[in-house]
Amino acid sequence: MPELDVMTERQTPAADSPPGTGTGKPLSVTGLRKTYGGGVTAVDEVSMEIAAGEFVTFLGSSGSGKTTTLMMIAGFCEPDSGSIVVGGRDVTRLAPQKRGLGFVFQQYLLFPHMTVWENVAFPLQLRDIPKAELRRRVGETLEMAGLSGMARRRPRELSGGQQQRVALCRALVYRPPVILMDEPLGALDKKLRDQLQTEIKRIQRELGLTVIYVTHDQEEALVLSDRIAVMRDGRVDQFDTPRELFERPRTPFVADFLGAANFLAGHVEEQTPDHTLVRLDTGGLLKARPQTAQAPAQTPRVRAAVQPGRLGLCPAGQGFCTGTVETVTYVGTLVRVTVRPAGGADTEPVRLELPAGRAPAPGERVGLTADPDDVSVFPDSVSAPELGVPAPEQGR
């Protein structure tokens, strides 16, 4: 194929390596910025280093800039400034076909006039892979995805889940240095989604793929990712492991988006290297872990965040807060409990998740406790916990 001058410079060292040795390459993004007409900044100074073989998710609601960032890495959309380096090669101004990345889209985008086999073989044919080698690799890839029996079918004869598996195969088969996935499971139902998540994760681990995954589903992000970049208004709020995001959220947005945290208003009463003491508006004293640099020693007003699952019950009068149990809802092995704190006139009820065995009765007066290590303290720049509003310079 003479027109494929593009291919001559393609690096294919990974192509021959057996599965498991890691075909993924590192990717680094520096100061990426994209402004659309009308002065809307879609992506604002996004920088991150992604290691080879790492599974990274861009998590955010719609309009957070996650897809735009992905499209810039893919090359379908040109950044105003910043650079993208894949495996040591600057690809910022390259056309998508010269970047050699892999894609899986939400809409599958399989070629309808080709069979499953032809779809998966297509990227290999572009690379002039010898016929025997091509046959072996397409066969292996289809087998890995459990599609061996479907090779001769057309995409429209497959279910959504099968189609997305074919799309995944098509992206895997040429061992791209980085695979980009744009909400690939968004169009599937819950059960299928869970199943495919497991499969994607397994294949990613086996082949050592570098994957960048875009989703708005927190659970999906937590299940799949080595690290998650929580995005909001075109910026990365926090880029960390799921555990760190969960336990050490750096902004109220992250605490709310991932953990659906309770926010308790108050002010800092004491700050020591061991702990921070917050006097809550409801009167109680809440002990939080010591605060880092951005700690609001001078800020009088703060919000303390605790995940519902990290709160415990104790007798009324003890703990940092006393209140009345309002609702008790069984959710399988868990109970969701809301407690209306006494003393605060119009405070939000506090949400708890307890093991089903320890459910209180509605109307009961209880105290609330929390491990200081599970309590994060944020400066209260906005009076009410309005989380959509960007707080100034948090976590950056």
Partner: protein, 311 residues
């Protein structure tokens, strides 16, 4: 033929099990829905019988009748002999040339239009289609004015000192093909535009992402996706050209006489209805052959693809 098809359509729905033929018919007729359906089909059946079946069969009969009564095939033999055969071949040739040219131009035009924003696309399509509201006669004379020896085009070329100008653009095959192509173009553009609009452009982006160059994307993705439209448009064009009369008659020379002109001559000048009928039936058969070819190409393509998948 089509009428009976319509009328008998509801029958299979009410006869699930193998019942003797007459019983089946009676049972079908006893169904109120079937009777209602037959009643509804009646106007169509009558319409088709009077305006479609009857004329075709009478033409067929006419073409098989000898001058002194009795049956004969010699009108057909005449059609395939000497000058008549040449005219038949000319018709096929000009139709093929016109179809190919209008496919190429139509493809380029439709591809360009399908990339425009809907508003602009609508406007361009209007420009393509509106001339069709004008009488073909007027348009043909328009072409004659443009293409004549002292027409706009030749004058411009002469003023520009293009070597060889003025060119003979009329009363030859070039003239006929230009004229008929302009008539056929809206059909190909409309058909191709519909197919292209229905093509998911993100598929092309997906192929690009995988590393396909522009030419490969066009050859391996775009062309196969719009191929059904190309085949349909080409065959339609060909069929329409076969019986086209006005433009070839006005813009062609003696060597570009097409079957329609021959029929005209036989009826109007020689009062030779039988021979004209035979030519008409031949045109009809050629049309059917075109349609058959369409099916054949389609099934061959499918078979080839299946074999490709198997290897």
């Amino acid at each position: 033929m089509a009428g009976s098809l319509l009328a008998s359509k509801p029958t299979p729905a009410v006869t699930p099990s193998p019942v003797p033929r007459r019983g089946r018919l009676r049972r079908a007729l006893s169904d109120r829905r079937t009777r209602f359906g037959l009643l509804n089909a009646a106007p169509v059946v009558v319409y088709l019988l009077i305006l479609f079946i009857y004329p075709i069969f009478s033409t067929l009969l006419l073409s098989l009748k000898g001058e002194e009564g009795g049956w004969t095939l010699h009108w057909y033999a005449d059609a395939f002999r000497g000058a008549n055969l040449e005219i038949l071949l000319t018709t096929l040739r000009i139709s093929t040339e016109t179809s190919l040219l209008s496919l190429v131009i139509g493809f380029l035009l439709a591809a360009a239009v399908s990339r425009l924003k809907p508003l602009w696309a609508g406007l361009v399509m209007l420009v393509v289609i509106v001339p069709h509201f004008i009488s073909a006669l007027v348009r043909t004379y328009g072409w004659i004015i443009l293409l004549g020896e002292h027409g706009v085009i030749n004058n411009a070329l002469t003023d520009l000192h293009v070597p060889g100008a003025p060119f003979q653009l009329l009363y030859n095959e070039l003239g006929v093909v230009i004229g008929t192509t302009s008539v056929m173009l809206p059909y190909t553009v409309l058909l191709l535009y519909a197919v292209m609009r229905g093509t998911d452009r993100r598929l092309l982006a997906a192929a690009a992402g995988m590393g396909a160059g522009r030419l490969t994307i066009f050859r391996r993705i775009y062309l196969p996706l719009v191929a059904p439209g190309l085949v349909n448009a080409g065959i339609l064009c060909f069929i329409l050209c076969l019986g086209y009369y006005l433009t070839p008659a006005l813009m062609g020379g003696p060597k570009q006489t097409m079957v329609a002109s021959l029929i005209d001559e036989q009826v109007m000048r020689q009062n030779q209805w039988n021979g004209a009928s035979a030519l008409g039936i031949i045109l009809l058969l050629l049309t059917f052959a075109g349609l058959l070819l369409l099916r054949l190409v389609k099934s061959l393509g499918d078979a080839a693809r299946k074999r490709g998948a198997a290897s």
